[in-house]
Amino acid sequence: MRLLANLLIVILAAGFSVQSWSSTAAQDPSTADHSKFEQLQGPFATGPDVTEACLGCHTEAAKQLHKTSHWTWAFENPVTGQMLGKKNVVNNFCVAAASNWPRCTSCHIGFGWKDDTFDLTSEKNVDCLACHDTTDTYKKFPTGAGHPNYEPKKWPPKKGKTRQPPDLVRIAQNVGTPDRDNCGNCHFYGGGGDGVKHGHLDSSMHKPTRDTDVHMDIDGLNFSCQTCHTTGGHEIAGSRYATTAVDKEGIDVPGRTDNARATCVSCHDTAPHGAAANSKLDEHVDKIACETCHIPTFARGGRKTKTWWDWSTAGRKDQHGKPLVIKDPQGYDTYNFKKGDFRWEANVAPEYRWYNGRIDFSTLGEKIDDTGVVSINRLNGSYDDPDSRIWPFKVMRGRQPYDTVNKVLAVPHLFGKDSEAYWKSFDWGRAIKAGLAATGQEFSGEYDFIETEYFWPVTHMVAPKEEALSCQSCHSRDGRMAELKGFYMPGRDRFEWLDLGGALVVLGTLGGVSLHGLARLVASRRRRNP
């Protein structure tokens, strides 16, 4: 009996050990324990010192990164030939990185991009830790031009909490494959705060629920970003500048396709709904992007996203002469003296447009037409174009400064210790002059504010299938597609003259037979009782 019990214990123990071995293997497939590396014993004074240690073994890593837009902040659009990337485009959040470098480059994967003189060929200024920290303790300081703080430092300045410098040795010894947090630490906070820019990427995606993102659901598939944004040699698949609006290649098979899984189709195929589903669904894929139905709303994780930013009202003070800040009940700024008026929204229904993957951007110094709303990026596509699909967009709208004589969008110099910076002087004239000068442009001296719009394709926060849009969401008179013109859509469209004529014919017929029947009734009564 005892023998049997012992045997049972041995078997159980063996079972457990096998199980624990396999689960560790699944979590950390690395063949190296970086804490055992001599080069990583420290101490490290700065981030670049850590990078030098990394490059001692990973000799090609920095060279690989130097080619990516994560490093260059420049991207040549293969379709339009336009030179894009954060360095060259304008938006309607903080408008442009130029002249505001140290603030913006706190999200650059490098160290020290504090002005135009930054050396883009420097290897030791590549920041390995931003992406490879697995301890979640590495934080670049918001105004540090990409550096973390190496001394205790307050953020926000003066009245904020003190941030301790990160333990670079511990972090360096625990590097690993990036997870959602590494990507999210920048991409969830684009535009200057949580969820501000994209709305389909925000802090709820660190640990998303099934409802927020069916693929990244921490209790379900728990995808990392790279599950879809496949990587190789530090290049990452998927681009907002050069969107794959239509993927005709089907499931991505190594050796046969491009090894990029950044489209829905690369896993779900071109007829994704299955034999059990309404066949009409698969018949929609020639016109509708997957995201259109399967991301019914964005900013779905309990965070709001910014949808309106009016710079023209910035600079106001309250009745006590103090800089004015107004917050909504959830604590979101609806007015901030530094930035103007904001609108924030959660569970936002996207706007829909025909889109073939080509977007033309307004870049620095481009002439604008100031007679109406300025589209900072312009979508291409139409119903008649077989390579266009109806895509969902977050449309960011706002009012921003422009040079009324030279007809260019202003590059406001917002951030800096100098007195030309708007957030020091609160003088638009000086800020615009300094910003334009920093990009080699001359300011006429005349400025005003103009309404702009900017289209952001919505691709993340894919909902569980039961949350997808229903047919009726679009096939109804005032449905989601009400704005899209130029084609007939059942349930939404009709020929008013035909409906009117048809109604007249039907009602006329009804009236006619009713009168005829009534007359017969009266006539037969008369015949019987003359």
Binding site: P490, L498, G501, G502, V506
Partner: protein, 203 residues
């Protein structure tokens, strides 16, 4: 009076199934069109497709039946004077209690106006609906040939209005003009109809 076996089993099956399908198609079709709300768009569209395919199959059988049994001859238009006589009857005689100008028998089931009406149903309204309907179903695969949904939907909607108007007139005449109350309805159910013996005219 004699009892005539007027409506064969297939004809009755065809008639009633067609009636059910046409009414279903009108209801679901006008829901897809956005005019009424009954089942929800997806369900309406699904029922509409199912009923449409069933009706197409039924119509194929009916065409075959008409052609092989000689029943098609019952739709040959009558001479104009008989058509005019029928119009005079519905416009005038019916109020005065005049006798029906047309005598029906097994091989002359339709009066001259019915011949015109049913012929146009079979060779005009029907085809407008099923040709545009098939194009409606298959247009995603026809888009390469420059076929747009706009004219397809237009014709299909036009067909629906004509069918609805036809249905109204048909129901009125079928339910109210028989000698005995609901005599035609009974005939279409049992197959047998009571017919006057005297010989007046044939269509």
């Amino acid at each position: 009076m004699q009892r005539v076996y007027m409506y064969s089993r297939f004809l009755r099956l065809w008639h009633w199934l067609q009636a059910l399908l046409v009414i279903t198609l009108l209801l679901t079709g006008f829901e897809v069109h956005g005019t009424v709300q009954l089942f929800g768009y997806e369900e309406a569209a699904g029922y509409h497709r199912l009923a449409a395919w069933t009706l197409l199959g039924l119509w194929a059988l009916a065409w075959f039946w008409h052609l092989t049994t000689g029943e098609w001859k019952q739709y040959i238009p009558s001479p104009i004077d008989r058509i005019l006589a029928m119009m005079r009857y519905y416009g005038l005689g019916i109020f005065k209690g005049d006798p029906h100008p047309f005598h029906k028998d097994r091989w002359h089931r339709h009066n001259p106006l019915q011949r015109m009406a049913y012929l146009s149903l079979h060779i005009m309204i029907g085809p407008v609906i099923w040709i545009s309907g098939l194009a409606y179903i298959f247009y995603p695969y026809l888009a390469g040939y420059g076929l747009s949904l706009t004219p397809i939907a237009l014709l299909h909607t036009l067909g629906a209005f004509l069918m609805l108007a036809f249905l109204i007139v048909h129901l009125y005449l079928a339910l109210t003009t028989s000698d005995k109350p609901l005599g035609f309805l009974k005939g279409m159910i049992t197959g047998y109809e009571e017919i006057e013996d005297e010989k007046t005219t044939s269509a």
